[in-house]
């Protein structure tokens, strides 16, 4: 793809998300779409993290744990210590990142299915810890978290107080989409940097990479902590949107869904998880009308999609291009 085409593509995407979607929703009056799209944006941030661990050749089914930790960190800071919500977003991400360095150092030595299963267990651990600790308020969780407040620099209001806005849905939509764009831009930059290329060498053969002098343990911890950082951010914003967080807010099923999003979009493409999340979430929502057959149709479609496109939806594009080139 040439550079100008790339820029046009990005501009079209930004225009679509920031202008076209709100316009369409205003015209059609389907305000409930905001909530769906906001969720898609947030879940795709968490999925982007999972994708990054796939990129270093690890199957991560533990993103739910970090999303939960992020949500709790933000909720506790806002409710108990009165910290501004905007400050808690990066804080939640950083705490998750540091936590994941501690956890990741030992468990990243595991490979393949072992790593996958340990991360799966990690999700359960996070949930059970949230149930057991006093600060997280047990099964009752933390509810009635206040809406994000205003930010102003030199008296100039940059972000208005969410509780005074006419439509908090729109505000949250912009917040989530902005975060998503930033995360994916960062991820794209990371993957196409020197570190990204080194990470790809881990995915193919760790021993070989380390024999040429790649510091593999350093790289995989970095990748894992970036991944958890994204999970923490997503969790923090999610807690703010639903104004509550419970131990069951992010469960094993959510962790598995994050992984499915990546698979579905395609593991070889940075924007795969975004597409995967959109398709999975919307697919599930659209099937709501089918009532009790919802899960049956959804899972059948999932299996059929897997049979037809085992390498993800975006592999379709690659396939076409390869055909066209020779």
């Amino acid at each position: 793809m040439s550079r100008s085409k790339q820029i046009i593509g990005v501009a079209a995407f930004l225009f679509g998300v920031f202008v076209l979607v709100p316009l369409m929703i205003k015209l059609t009056g389907r305000w409930d779409f905001y909530y769906t799209l906001t969720s898609v944006a947030l879940l795709s941030i968490a999925s982007a993290g999972v994708w990054l661990t796939f990129y270093i050749g690890r199957i991560n089914i533990g993103q739910g744990a970090y999303a939960l930790v992020g949500g709790y960190v933000s909720a506790i800071l806002v409710v108990k210590y009165g910290v501004s919500f905007w400050l808690t977003i990066p804080l939640a991400g950083l705490i998750c990142g540091c936590l994941s360095i501690l956890i990741g150092l030992p468990i990243l030595r595991l490979k393949g299915v072992y790593f996958a299963m340990v991360t799966l267990v990690l999700t359960e651990v996070a949930k059970l810890t949230a149930l057991a600790l006093p600060i997280t308020n047990g099964a009752k969780g933390i509810s009635s978290i206040p809406l994000p407040g205003a930010i102003s620099i030199f008296g100039l209001t940059i972000i208005p107080d969410f509780s005074q806005l006419a439509s908090t849905k729109l505000a949250f939509y912009y917040l989530a989409v902005t975060l998503m764009v930033l995360s994916y831009a960062g991820l794209y930059r990371l993957v196409h940097s020197r570190i990204g290329h080194l990470c790809r060498s881990l995915q193919q053969n760790e021993e070989l990479a380390s024999s040429i002098g790649v510091n593999i343990s350093y790289l995989r911890v970095i990748a894992y902590s970036v991944s958890s950082f994204l999970g923490g951010i997503a969790g923090a914003v999610f807690a703010a949107i639903s104004q509550s967080i419970y131990p069951s807010s992010f469960q094993v099923a959510d962790s598995i869904n994050f992984m499915l999003n990546c698979f579905l979009g395609g593991l070889g493409y940075v924007f795969g998880p975004m597409l995967g999340t959109l398709v999975l979430y919307f697919g599930w929502d659209l099937l709501f009308t089918t009532g009790k057959f919802q899960l049956l149709i959804y899972s059948s479609l999932l299996i059929a999609l897997m049979l037809a496109l085992p390498n993800g939806i975006l592999s379709l594009r690659l396939f076409n291009r390869k055909k066209a080139e020779p």
Partner: protein, 289 residues
């Protein structure tokens, strides 16, 4: 003390049988079968239908659930896993498929059997009371004995039959087995069917004690994964050891830590992560899986 050990043995033998099926499938095809818990639930519902609703003997119910699950397993392997494994660039893609199958089985169970908790009448009445040191209902003892019998039968089958030898060869080295004339496609299918059948058997056995409901699938899968990890993935002795260890831990934890609330599982999970950090391949597994 005796009571705790007896409970642990009872839990552990059931867990071991579940883990055996999972580890067999993993050893043969390198597939982490997310749908294992759902297969177990399906087996429970089949036995419930045959035994409680049709009024046939319990053993018929067990046989019915074993056969059903074996057929389901064989079909899943032949029409779903095999094409995906052949076409996909990365072997992890099978995990998405397995998760999809887990959702699918959940949906089927929901539609066919409903979401209610189902139980069956007791198969044997009475309670063993040994001096108030061990108190255990007779049906639990029967189930425990049956489970141990099935485990022994499975080991014997894997050890001495031609099919079992072929499957062990496949698990050891796929290419070498193929060169020696083992039909990989056929034995993968048999292995998957056998693994699913074991899940069905446990489901059928346990429905007589704990009953069965739709929500049991996911947690059962996670427990089975843990047992397999403790023992080492793809190793039969490891699965049995893992099952017994988890059963014992749970039994001891629930009785010793009961006054601290629900932290048994938290402790088990945390110690598992620490254990795996020290010994990544589990107790008996091959290094790096």
């Amino acid at each position: 003390m005796e009571q705790i050990i007896a409970n642990g043995l009872y839990l552990g033998s059931q867990y071991a049988l579940i883990a055996l099926g999972l580890t067999l499938i993993f050893a043969l095809m390198n597939v982490l079968n997310f749908a294992h818990g759902q297969m177990y639930v399906l087996g429970g519902f089949v036995t419930y239908t045959v035994y409680a609703q049709l009024g046939l003997p319990f053993i018929v119910g067990l046989l019915a659930s074993a056969t059903t699950l074996a057929v389901v397993g064989a079909l899943i392997e032949k029409f779903l896993f095999r094409p995906v494994i052949r076409k996909s660039h990365r072997e992890e893609s099978t995990m998405l498929l397995a998760a999809g199958i887990a959702f699918f089985l959940d949906a089927v169970i929901l539609l066919v059997f409903g979401e209610k908790q189902r139980g069956v009448p007791k198969i044997v009445n009475g309670v063993l009371n040994w001096d108030f040191r061990i108190i255990m209902p007779y049906d639990r003892i029967l189930i425990c004995v049956l489970t141990i019998f099935f485990i022994a039968a499975f080991i014997g089958y894997m050890q001495y039959s031609k099919t079992g030898r072929a499957m062990r060869a496949l698990a050891q080295d796929k290419v070498a087995a193929q060169l020696m004339g083992v039909n990989v496609a056929r034995y993968s299918m048999i292995g998957f069917a056998l693994g699913a059948m074991l899940a069905g058997l446990v489901g059928g056995l346990l429905v007589s004690i704990t009953g069965v409901n739709l929500g049991m699938g996911g947690p059962t899968s996670i427990k089975a994964f843990m047992m397999v990890m403790i023992g080492g993935a793809g190793v039969i002795s490891g699965a049995i050891a893992g099952g017994l260890i988890l059963g014992m831990l749970e039994s001891v934890g629930l009785s010793v830590l009961s006054q601290y609330g629900d932290i048994t599982y938290l402790l088990i999970f945390v110690s598992l992560i620490i254990f795996l950090a020290i010994r990544p391949q589990g107790l008996m597994g091959k290094p790096w899986g």
